[in-house]
């Protein structure tokens, strides 16, 4: 509970932050909301020599609309995402996901960028980010690039960010008409992280036929994943309870579920199937 000594920097711009990152390289850790890094430091599981606190980089705190896209700054707090009218109207899935992260204290401090780059396999956002087919803008002193959600999460606690890169923005689409979304979650009772979290985006036409289906699942596998088999079983189908049930049965296909103190692999896979069905039903009702 008492961290090792470190040197602390508090830049006020992305440029300044990147310069520090370039200088201290992998001896430095970026601090966003602190809800992953600080507990690790207090247990001395992380002992960075340099901590670069992004808390004062105000240019990274925003939610705005740009054409048919929504842009969210990486340092935007969960609470801002949860309560954003813009998101609630244009992309309610992200707001709903943010609303069930941790508890109020965590949501007041934690940031979307911090959560995404930490890539905890049981974090909530990755499910929604995958289902929304979001893109992440990362910058470095060399320039910038966009990373698709699917390419962003590489493995447990690992993203495709390269040394010297900083996540600055998340881009999600304004959802088209006749689209319903849902995020449902079974929380690990101690930590509040997801034993299973399912995010669903469903577009259904006038005839009840599924035009688009995207399902992101977190907490179940070493990294959040798209449940492609479920999506295939839905697309082009006239949706009813039996179709969604049959599709949900494929929610854990092709993955190697996590197993730990809190849930066996078998139960996690079972939860993925059950809650996938429940999420699909909820999203369908919201179209």
């Amino acid at each position: 509970m008492i961290p090792a000594a470190f040197e602390y920097f508090r830049p006020t711009s992305v440029k300044e932050a990147l310069a520090l990152l370039d200088h201290y390289k992998d001896e430095a850790k970026l601090l966003a909301g602190g809800h992953s890094l600080i507990p690790l430091m207090k247990l001395r599981l992380a002992q960075p020599r340099y901590v670069i606190d992004l808390g004062r980089v105000r240019e990274l705190e925003y939610i705005r609309e740009s054409g048919d896209q929504l842009l969210i700054g990486a340092m935007t707090r969960h609470v801002a995402i949860e309560t954003s009218d813009l998101l609630r109207q244009r992309c309610p899935l992200l707001a709903e996901t943010a609303s069930v992260i941790g508890d109020a204290q965590v949501r007041n401090m934690g940031t979307i960028g911090g959560s995404l780059v930490h890539a905890d396999p049981a974090a909530d956002y990755p499910a929604a980010i995958l289902a929304l087919e979001a893109e992440m803008r990362v910058v470095s002193s060399q320039g910038e690039r966009w990373i698709r959600a699917e390419d962003f999460f590489v493995d447990m606690l690992t993203t495709s960010l390269q040394p010297g890169e900083l996540l600055v923005e998340i881009k999600v689409p304004v959802l088209p008409p006749r689209t319903g979304t849902a995020y449902v979650k079974v929380a690990q009772k101690a930590s509040g992280f997801a034993l299973c979290g399912v995010a669903v985006v469903l577009t259904i036409d006038q005839n009840g036929v599924c035009q688009h289906a995207a399902v992101g699942i977190t907490g179940v596998a070493p990294k959040a994943y798209r449940a492609r088999a479920v999506e295939h079983a839905l697309r082009g189908q006239k949706l009813d309870a039996s179709v969604t049930a049959a599709a949900s049965a494929k929610a854990a296909e092709g993955i190697d579920p996590l197993e730990d103190l809190h849930a066996s692999a078998e139960y996690r896979a079972h939860l993925a199937r059950v809650w996938c069905r429940r999420a699909l039903e909820q999203a369908r009702a919201r179209v």
Binding site: M1, I2, A4, A5, P39, L43, R44, D103, V186, Q188, K189, A190, S191, L261, H262, A263, S264, Y267, H270, L271, V274
Partner: protein, 773 residues
């Protein structure tokens, strides 16, 4: 005299300072030149200590001293165990390990440095060479042949075998029409007080006095023990329990660190602070429960229980702490619960295991007893095709049978058990719920109704029953201005006795609530006392306050008579804070007038001492036996195993109630902790003795959102044991609620043929049971 405060929902006087962050906990205490201690703890559950290299740590920045077990073994006595049992094996329990370590988290060395960070950094520089030994964590395995032995000098891991018999158990089973048996595990849980432990010690060489601030429930008992451990005269040790952020029994103890930090302060000549981290709190503050039991009931077909046989294995842990061996004896004493069960046999085997010691955790042995018995009552009802409420009703003693003697040798003071259960059944709408349950079962829905009727043993207790005294003390000191200071030997740490004791005193003396100040927890200010545990503070400590205030009133009345010129004291009345002669009510003296006169001492009756204060040490003649009935209503999601509460009804009878709000709070808190054990909590060690649930991220305690609306009600059956008629309520919730919740879940699953599940009833366990059914 009319009661203005007693019986009222008086807001807690403690709350203002607590919720505005103005109270002082151990970690808030800062002394001049204070330094910080950090402890090196064993990373092995069982190992020989070879070499401890402290040189790098000694040279580290800010480090003042490093001590190992060898350095202090002569200077500091062992961690004490107060409980006595026949043939109890008491291993030497050094404050820092010597030669061997026996659980992960056992203190091995201590570092003292100028600041907390330097102390913690230096811990990482100490190289401890261990020779790992095979560990044994399962208590059943620990007492089996061939298990690794923790304490070689005993040649066995059996710490004790304790038995209790009443009636003729063999005959009960011969006459039984049906025998119902069940193996049950009462899992090890971790108390998780909000404030971890912490100690600040300061030595004043001029006076030869050691002052120890520590987060404890028993400042005086601790002082006696610390003096012995450190070789000091008891009147040279001052223990102060400042604000204590919860204990739940985990601070009813004497810990290695309390003596160690005291020793460091003396040895180094500087004040020393040690604050337990949350991880240390999980590893090295006592755990609770930890029983494995085979229970057998001899019953008749009408549901009458003739006898009970218990074979219990108590997981002791690596060493005894203060009351470790005593806890399961409370299980034995309460093994027949609120029922007329004339024949009983209890055997408890204590097993040393490579884990932290178990000891008192809210309820301390009684929740285990109630859990086993209430599960058995449901099992019996199922086996015989009877309603579980009816089986309980048939076995209750009637109100006119009190004091009621039990097969375990107790005499229950007073009770009306059928009334409490009837009230709970009415409140919950039992008949209707059973009908609804039938309807829902047709629809494939699993509603469960769980009843728990309980009696607990409180107001602990008469002195012969305790290793230390079982009385409690109070001083009521009226200051010259008429303000009243109460010094209580009890040591409340969240229960609210600063309020309830003030209510008692204010009513008796006719003063305002804010005129009374209750002081506790400082051995240099307060006369010797026992402390707060075992739901005793109000029933024993409150009675001591009541006794002291009677003495003060008696003296004040004599003085008032003298000042009013009345020779016959019996003619003087004291009402609403005023003294007057009954047939001359026009001339009155206020309580303040009399208090001032007692100190000015210009005119005192012959032989009367100046001043106005009195002490009272109350020795209870018996325990008290609160009781009640709790009913949980849950619905189980058959697809996931999730448990959803529909209702929770609690009817508790804790005798006369001083402050209903405090009683509600105690009941609420207890139910929440019971819910934790029933559904969520378990201290999980792996086979090597590593604690896997060593953090709040892995050990689930209930959060507000896990708790259903609690519908509380009361019956009030005064206790004849004390003049206040109070019984105690601090542990009722943990005792009653655990089996109510488990019974509800198992009842929900009854159509699937599921008869028992061991706690915690996590969704996956329920899902597997459903799938396997």
């Amino acid at each position: 005299m009319a009661k203005k405060f007693v019986g009222e929902r008086v807001p807690r006087v403690e709350d203002q300072r607590l919720i505005t962050g103005r109270s002082q906990y151990v970690d808030d205490i800062v002394r001049p030149r204070m330094v910080y201690a950090a402890i090196v703890r064993s990373i092995y559950a069982h190992a020989r200590l070879k070499e401890i290299n402290v040189e790098a740590a000694r040279r580290a920045p800010g480090v003042i001293a490093v001590f190992t077990g060898e350095d202090v073994r002569e200077a500091i006595g062992p961690v004490p165990v107060a409980s006595q049992l026949p043939d109890l094996k008491i291993p030497r329990h050094p404050v820092l390990a010597v030669e061997k370590v026996r659980y992960v988290g056992e203190p091995v060395a201590v570092v003292v440095a100028e600041d907390r960070y330097q102390a913690r950094d230096a811990v990482d520089l100490i190289e401890v060479e261990y020779e790992p030994l095979e560990a044994v964590v399962d208590p059943e395995r620990a007492i089996a042949e061939g298990a690794p032995i923790l304490h070689e000098e005993f040649g066995t891991n059996v710490a004790f075998v304790w038995q209790l018999s009443g009636g003729d158990i063999e005959r009960a089973f011969r006459e039984a029409e049906v025998v119902v048996s069940q193996r049950m595990v009462n899992q090890r849980v971790i108390p998780v007080a909000m404030e971890p432990r912490g100690v600040v010690a300061e030595y004043h060489p001029g006076e030869g006095q050691l002052t120890v601030w520590t987060s404890t429930q028993i400042p005086h008992l601790l002082r006696t023990q610390l003096a012995a451990m450190l070789g000091l005269a008891e009147n040279r040790v001052r223990v102060i329990a400042p604000e204590v952020g919860g204990g739940f029994g985990s601070k009813l103890n004497v810990y290695a660190e309390e003596a160690l930090v005291g020793y460091l302060a003396m040895r180094l000549g500087r004040p020393v602070k040690w604050i337990e981290t949350r991880r240390e709190n999980f590893l090295s503050t006592i755990h609770g429960r930890g029983q494995i039991a085979e229970v057998e009931a001899a019953v008749k077909r009408d549901g009458t229980v003739l006898g009970l046989r218990y074979k219990i294995i108590q997981d002791v842990g690596a060493y005894h702490q203060l009351l470790t061996p005593a806890i399961p004896t409370l299980t034995g004493l309460m093994a027949t619960g609120p029922y007329k069960i004339p024949n009983l046999h209890v055997q408890v085997i204590g097993a040393f295991t490579n884990k932290m010691a178990t000891d008192a955790y809210r309820g301390a042995g009684r929740p285990e007893a109630t859990y086993m018995l209430e599960r058995m009552m449901d099992r019996i009802a199922r086996e015989l095709g009877l309603d579980p409420a009816e089986v309980r009703m048939r076995n209750f003693p009637q109100p006119d049978e009190f004091p009621f003697p039990t097969a375990s040798g107790l005499a229950y003071d007073s009770g009306n058990y059928p009334q409490a259960l009837r009230r709970a059944l009415e409140l919950v709408g039992y008949e209707q719920l059973r009908q609804e349950q039938q309807v829902l079962r047709q629809q494939g829905r699993y509603l469960g109704i769980g009843i728990s009727t309980y009696v607990e043993i409180c107001a602990i207790g008469p002195s012969p029953a305790l290793p230390f005294g079982g009385w409690e003390s109070a001083t009521v000191r009226v200051e010259p201005t008429g303000k009243v200071t109460v010094l209580s030997g009890a040591s409340p740490h969240g229960q609210g006795q600063e309020t309830s004791f003030a209510q008692i005193v204010a009513d008796e003396l006719g003063v305002g609530l804010s005129d009374v100040r209750v002081i506790h927890g400082d051995t240099a200010i307060v006369q010797y006392g026992i402390g707060t545990f075992g739901s005793r503070a109000t029933a024993v400590g409150g009675t001591a306050v009541y006794g002291a205030v009677q003495k003060v009133k008696e003296k004040a009345t004599r003085l008032a008579a003298h000042l009013l010129g009345e020779e016959n004291v019996a003619n003087v009345a004291f009402e609403a804070g005023q003294f007057f002669v009954k047939d001359r009510p026009e001339r009155r003296l206020t309580f303040q007038d009399v208090a001032l006169a007692a100190y000015l001492a210009k005119s005192l009756p012959p032989g009367m001492e100046p001043g106005l204060e009195a002490s009272y040490f109350f020795e209870p003649s018996n325990f008290t036996f609160p009781f009640g009935a709790h009913i949980a209503v849950v619905e189980v999601d058959p697809e996931t195993g999730d448990v959803h509460f529909r209702r929770y009804v609690a009817v508790d009878d804790c005798g006369r109630v001083i402050n209903p709000m405090l009683v509600d709070g105690q009941v609420h808190g207890g139910i929440v902790q019971a819910l934790g054990q029933a559904l969520l909590e378990e201290a999980v060690y792996d086979e090597n003795g590593q604690l896997l649930t060593g953090e709040l991220t892995d050990y689930a305690i209930p959060k507000a959102t896990d708790v259903p609306w609690l519908e509380t009600d009361r019956t009030e059956t005064p206790s004849p044991v004390n003049p206040l008629g109070v019984k105690g309520v601090g542990e009722a919730g943990t005792i009653a609620a655990t089996p109510a919740i488990v019974n509800a879940v198992v009842d929900a699953l009854a159509p699937l043929g599921i008869r028992h599940l061991d706690m915690p009833l996590r969704p996956e366990k329920i899902w597997r049971a459903i799938r396997g059914a």
